[in-house]
């Protein structure tokens, strides 16, 4: 069976989630691989949520928010624009390809942009392949094979 990427999407309530809804009601076709989690603001997205998503099996994570200057809470997305690039560096430090984490601004009227972003990211993750995090549970019972 071909690899189907599992992508978790954190969408802000006011812009990007509404944009995703618009794509839906406009019947714009897009890849079904992004599982959407709605937050009130992209600035609410704690890096721990993203790390947990990778830990639990996500192959990619996308954070979508309002365009700069349009944040419903004025400054939330300014924090996001620092947090996500910083987190990309950290996951690279963990040995995870930073292309698996993406930040996009999608407004409430950009249904077609939402679909384009979802399709693009799905193809990129499909190309990168599944993220199979090494699980080290076995060492509790048996030692690592000696070389």
């Amino acid at each position: 069976m071909a690899f189907e990427p599992k992508i978790i999407g954190f969408l802000c309530n006011w812009c990007s989630y509404t944009g995703a809804d618009l794509a839906g009601v406009s019947r714009i076709k897009s890849a079904p691989n992004v599982r959407v989690i709605r937050t009130m603001c992209s600035g609410r997205v704690d890096p721990a949520f993203i790390l947990k998503a990778f830990h639990l099996g996500a192959d990619g994570v996308i954070v979508m928010g309002c365009h700069l200057g349009d944040c419903h809470y004025q400054e939330g997305n300014y924090k996001t624009i620092r947090r996500i690039p910083f987190l990309k560096r950290l996951i690279q430090g963990f040995g995870i390809d930073p292309r698996r984490l993406r930040l996009e601004w999608v407004s409430a009227s950009e249904g077609d942009r939402f679909a384009a972003v979802v399709n693009e990211m799905t193809e990129e993750i499909r190309h990168l392949g599944p993220l199979e995090l090494q699980v080290q549970q076995e060492e509790v019972l048996q030692p690592v094979e000696h070389r």
Binding site: D46, P47, A48, L51, K52, F54, H55, L68, Y78, K79, I81, R82, R83, P85, F86, L87, R89, L90, G93, F94, G95, I96, L133, Q134, Q136, E139, V140, P143, V144, H146, R147
Partner: protein, 321 residues
């Protein structure tokens, strides 16, 4: 009435936690008066077999320091769990992997390749030798523990009843926990952190803090810092905002930044991610290129943000192919 039984053990440990216990000075005599110490490798001559011979759950309190990085550490962790009513993860290594947890940035093979073969001061014969778990000698066989690829905290191997954070836990905090236990008052729910506060290190720090708008970071050797002003405000990365209170902010009082040794604050599972988030909130830049230039000034985020907590972070270790 028999005195409660006390055990202390060190796994992958530097010995600092043992010294911290002794740093309660003459109060160690009160501990000896109140408890029957049945196992303490650094200070007393009991052997593993003495513990194995005990009935299960007859040790009332076991203070277990050090992380789990080889088969012996794991075996004794299971042994102490079986023989103890209350098992306490004592110190940063037991609680979250500690400094040994930084081995999770690499692999055992890479470490051995450097230590036993590749380091500039190593001269190898016959291509070099790695430690062998079993060696046959004319006099008999020698067995040494198997070193693991991934360092673990104590609670990633056995169930832990309480945690005392710190590298090491401060002696006054150690005494306050012992005193509380001896008072007979009911203990907090299992899984609680003892001997520490419920705020962040910043709460105990005496430096003056202003509203943060950071545009530049410095390495500690690059500038002379003002001892009265918040180090983060001056551009020095200080882990205070993402570190549990309880140590009295000793490091910032000594003019060095907090390193994060008391572990994450309450309700935080990943200390490194929380510090990243905190810094992102206060960096004052909106332009992507400007942001990247500021982030370039933070050397070694992995080693700085996860200095003590890497083994207990959400991802636990670096992925290596």
């Amino acid at each position: 009435m028999a005195k409660p039984k006390l055990a202390l053990y060190w796994a992958a440990s530097c010995g600092g936690c043992e010294i911290a216990v002794l740093d309660i000075h003459e109060k160690i005599l009160d501990v000896d008066r109140a408890f029957d110490i049945v196992f303490w490798p650094v200070a007393m001559d009991f052997k593993y077999d003495a513990v194995r011979a005990m009935e299960d759950r007859t040790i009332d309190l076991c203070l277990f320091n050090g992380s789990i990085r080889n088969s012996e550490n794991a075996e004794i962790a299971h042994l102490m769990r079986a023989k103890s009513k209350t098992l306490v993860a004592f110190g940063s290594c037991a609680l979250e992997g500690g400094i040994p947890g930084l081995a999770n940035l690499t692999t055992r093979d890479e470490i051995w390749g450097y230590v036993y073969k590749g380091s500039p001061s190593t001269v190898t014969q016959n291509g070099g030798t790695y430690p062998q778990t079993h060696s046959a000698m004319p006099e008999g066989a020698i067995h040494i523990p198997e070193m693991w690829n991934t360092v673990k905290s104590l609670d990633q191997v056995v169930d832990v009843d309480y945690y005392i954070p710190g590298c090491p836990p401060q002696p006054d905090q150690i005494w306050s926990v012992v005193e509380y236990i001896l008072s007979g008052k009911p203990l907090p729910p299992a899984g609680s952190i003892l001997g520490a506060g419920d705020k962040t290190c910043c709460d105990e720090c005496t430096r003056e803090r202003k509203e943060k708008k950071l545009t530049k970071f410095y390495r500690p050797f690059e500038i002379e810092t003002d001892p009265a002003v918040c180090l983060l405000d001056q551009g020095i990365v200080c882990m205070g905002p993402a570190t549990r209170s309880g140590c009295g902010a000793l490091c910032t009082k000594a003019n060095v930044p907090c390193r994060g040794c008391y572990g994450p604050p309450p309700n935080v599972t990943d200390q490194g991610a929380k510090m990243l988030s905190a810094l992102s909130s206060v960096i004052d830049a909106h332009d992507p290129a400007e942001i990247e230039a500021i982030l370039d000034q933070i050397a070694d985020p992995m080693g700085t943000f996860y200095r003590f907590s890497l083994a207990h972070s959400i991802l636990r270790r670096v992925q290596k192919s």
